[in-house]
């Protein structure tokens, strides 16, 4: 699991070397706590590196996501009112909102970026979602999570949905980034 985390969140020239070193030390008798500590350090180190290298992209992504959420959140109130009234649809709308909106926003960010800046966009999105600036979005999510007869949503859920949304936004950006060359090839081959 720690190795999978390393592969997901750490990139760069020496990632394979680091994986090899960790495996070698693990075989030599290092503890799981040491292994996890090294992996978490590598993730933080890489995030810091991306922020330093792509500071402008991080800032632009954070501003983009903050702005997009401020615009989108009020637009969803009518949809939520409608969804709350129909219990079976409430969960579907909730899942669609939680998963779909971040993926679409991340995809839009992925379309606009021109080089390998997906990591910076992910960090910017996480920053946008985890700050009070996006509280309208979080209130919307909490409203939608609460069942009509329920007593509300725990605060922990609010932060969990924020983190998950940031990850989904990164997934959207990454997917678009991966698919873009295939689209370009397809259109170049099929359009005379």
């Amino acid at each position: 699991m720690a190795t999978a985390l390393l592969r997901c969140f750490v990139a760069g020239r020496y990632r394979d070397d680091l994986e090899g070193d960790l495996l070698e030390e693990w075989a030599a008798g290092r503890t799981a706590a040491w292994y996890w500590g090294q992996v978490m350090h590598a993730v933080c180190e890489h995030a810091g590196f991306v922020i330093r290298q792509q500071a402008a992209t991080c800032l632009a992504a954070a501003l983009f996501f903050c702005g997009a959420l401020w615009v989108i959140a009020p637009l969803t109130y009518p949809v939520m009112d409608w969804a709350r009234a129909t219990e079976p649809l409430r969960v579907m709308v909730l899942l669609g909102w939680l998963a779909g909106v971040p993926v679409i926003l991340g995809g839009m960010a992925g379309v606009t970026e021109r080089s390998r800046r997906v990591g910076a966009i992910l960090i910017g999105a996480a920053f946008a979602w985890l700050t009070p600036v996006t509280s309208p979005f979080n209130f919307v999510v909490c409203d939608l999570c609460a069942s009509p007869a329920g007593s509300g949503t725990p605060d922990a859920l609010l932060y969990l949905t924020s983190a998950a949304s940031a990850l989904l936004a990164g997934l959207g950006a990454w997917t678009v980034r991966k698919l873009r060359p295939a689209f370009h090839t397809h259109f170049q081959e099929n359009i005379p």
Binding site: D17, L18, D21, L22, A42
Partner: protein, 106 residues
């Protein structure tokens, strides 16, 4: 005028460790060397990011070793100082030595 890019504390330590360990300088051996001689326990990721900075400054070179089963089939990267790396390590160390008071040196 371009500002000179001075070596940081960790960069100097890694550069000196590479110098001391060559031709067997790799991240694990560098981390062990610094821990044994200086008492600093450094994360491997910190060593690699420092090595990357040194490589960007053209102070070190690297070469790939053979993949081994114990490393999950991954090769090891060995590091060596470039002539510029030797000069930079020497001049930074000399500058520190000239700056240090007599009590620190003794």
């Amino acid at each position: 005028m371009r500002r000179r890019d001075y070596l940081g504390h960790l960069e100097l330590m890694v550069l000196l460790a590479v110098w001391r360990l060559k031709p067997e300088a790799h991240a694990l051996s560098i981390a062990r060397e610094i821990e044994e001689r200086c008492g600093y326990s450094l994360a491997l990721a910190g060593i690699y990011s420092t090595l990357e900075r040194l490589r960007e400054k053209r102070l070190i070179d690297s070469s790939r070793g053979e993949p081994t089963p114990i490393r999950g089939g991954r090769a090891r990267t060995y590091f060596d100082l470039t002539p510029a790396g030797h000069a930079e390590a020497q001049s930074t160390f000399n500058a520190l030595a000239r700056l240090a008071p007599r009590a620190v040196l003794s």
